[in-house]
């Protein structure tokens, strides 16, 4: 077995192993270290001799490393003595408990005591089974930075005494929202890279979708989990049409809709139906907007009135300047650019989007549609200066040039 085979088994097993070991040792940091030691050993020994049961091998080795680590900690000697007599030590993963343990692992990785960057790194590492190198590549960060982030995160969790358990009922909904926002951050990093020279990083977006599917399977009665899954599937469905052969972005209105992934759209619509059982939350509403686009044969045939209504609802539920800006774009399509410009001007005057390229981008579009070309050029040029993604910047400069012609 080669490295890729070890990685494949690890991706499938890592969350279950770390979860079971955390339950077994009561120490999340130790469990994660032991699991990492096991996979490092597998990388060395499997190419020489493949184990008959790779998953069992990983679990047994990780458990041995955990016991070694506990044994080394003299202060925990009593606890080790306790563990050594615990009959659970030699048992396999308990299938009835492992689902709750994997879920608990997600809640710990996304715990509010951690910085947002740490939550993302830890979730990808312990739940997604990604290596520090893979996480660093995904977020265009140096490997030592990611490693330090994970080490610090584990220390923070230990220092804060975060228990390894499902949050109490009263906090469950809010903490679940925290997990969803981490998954959403990972997805958006893949679907609109905030920096770098590529617009899309589908492998990063894929990790988010995979983890959201896991969460949906473990929490089937939570509509917003299905809402986020629907949003991810419907957005990812457009990936094949979103970039040209040279990697340049293609705007929604210019996309070849035949390239959309219709099985992903079907999965997204199915998830949206599950999200709609008790009225839509913020993710469900965004998914409904994505669904309105996904079911339209063209920009002209899109139900823009419905999209305006959905953005209004989203603005009431989760007010944000970006939602307001998107509402303006929908109003421009449904009613006309003049009404939309009034919304954007009000937004800019309120100073709620400082330093973002989004407001001048939309303002430029609206001004161009109103025939106010010199003003539009100035807006596009300002947007290009503010935009950190090289591919998007090129599009903005092209738009500015088109207005001059």
């Amino acid at each position: 077995m080669g490295t890729a085979d070890v990685e494949a088994v690890w991706r499938i097993e890592s969350a279950r192993i770390v979860a079971a070991l955390t339950r077994f040792t009561g120490d999340f940091g130790l469990a994660e270290d032991a699991a990492q030691e096991a996979v490092a050993e597998a990388l060395v020994s499997w190419p020489l001799a493949s184990p008959a049961n790779p998953a069992g091998w990983l679990m047994a080795t990780a458990r041995r490393r955990a016991i070694d680590a506990i044994r080394r900690r003299t202060a925990l000697r009593d606890r080790y003595a306790l563990l050594a007599t615990d009959p659970a030590v030699d048992e396999d993963i308990d299938p009835d408990r492992i689902d709750d343990d994997v879920l608990a692992l997600m809640f710990v990785s996304c715990h509010p005591v951690l910085s947002p960057e740490a939550r993302v790194a830890l979730t990808l590492r312990v739940v997604g089974g990604l290596s520090s190198e893979q996480i660093a590549r995904a977020f265009l960060a140096p490997v030592p930075t990611v490693q330090a982030r994970i080490t610090r995160a584990k220390k923070t969790i230990a220092a804060a005494g975060v228990p390894f358990e499902l949050p109490p009922a009263g906090e469950r909904r809010e903490r679940l929202g925290g997990v969803l926002s981490v998954l959403y951050v990972i997805f958006t990093e893949g679907s609109t890279a905030t920096s770098g020279d590529r617009l899309l990083r589908p492998d990063v977006a894929y990790e988010a979708i995979r983890l959201t599917r896991t969460l949906a399977a473990l929490q089937p009665d939570e509509p917003e989990v299905h809402g986020l899954l629907a949003l991810c599937e419907l957005t990812a469905a457009r990936f094949p049409a979103r970039t040209g052969p040279d990697g340049s972005p293609i705007l929604l209105e210019d996309q070849d809709r035949r390239l959309w992934d219709f099985s992903a759209i079907r999965r997204g619509l199915a998830a949206l139906a599950k999200a709609s059982t008790r009225g839509l939350g913020p993710y469900g509403l965004q998914a409904a907007i994505a669904a309105a686009h996904a079911s339209a044969p063209s920009v002209e045939a899109t139900d823009w009135d419905r999209i305006v209504v959905l953005y209004e609802a989203l603005g009431r539920l989760a007010p944000s300047p970006v939602v307001e800006l998107n509402r303006a774009v929908a109003v421009a399509m449904a009613t006309g650019p003049a009404q939309a410009l009034a919304i954007v001007d009000e937004l800019i005057a309120s100073g709620r989007l400082p330093g973002s390229h989004l407001a001048p981008t939309v303002r430029g579009e609206l001004l161009a549609r109103l025939g106010r070309r010199p003003e539009a050029v100035a807006e596009f040029e300002m947007a290009a200066r503010l935009c950190a993604n090289q591919r998007e910047r090129e599009v903005l400069l092209r738009k500015a040039a088109q207005c001059v012609r």
């Binding site: 990685e7 689902d99 994997v102 399977a217 035949r258």
Partner: protein
């Protein structure tokens, strides 16, 4: 991301063995499907009915010819599939090893190209 199809290929013998303990087979398959769902990799799964109930449309001649029954003299019969969304072929293989398949049967693993890999028109790309 690459998708892979796990194509179940049974033989007359393995299909007969499967039918002999069908209840247990269904229960184990259900558990396996649940496991794949919790891992976030399952996109679809279907099992096919008895090949004897099938119909074959043959395009060898000028007009399609329809015959009842299974396809040709094949030793291995396509019995169903799992469609997976995984990071690598190795991961698809790893899942295939875990399928509660009947002894004697085989699983063929084939990659499913993405939308962006399928040629959209006849224009020759430079």
């Amino acid at each position: 991301m690459p998708k892979y199809m796990l194509i179940m290929r049974g033989t007359d013998e393995s299909n007969a063995a499967m039918m002999a303990s069908i209840e247990e087979g269904i229960a184990r398959t259900r558990l396996f499907i649940e496991e794949m769902m919790k891992a976030g990799v399952l996109l679809g799964a279907e099992g096919l009915d008895d090949p004897g109930q099938g119909v074959v449309v043959d395009f060898s001649g000028e007009a399609p010819v329809v015959t009842d029954g299974p396809y040709g003299e094949t030793k291995e019969l396509f019995g169903g599939f799992f469609l997976l969304d995984v990071a690598s072929k190795q991961e698809a293989v790893e899942w295939a090893k875990r399928v509660p398949a009947t002894p004697g049967s085989k699983i063929e693993i084939r990659r499913v190209p993405g939308e962006d890999e399928v040629p959209q028109d006849s224009t020759v790309q430079p």
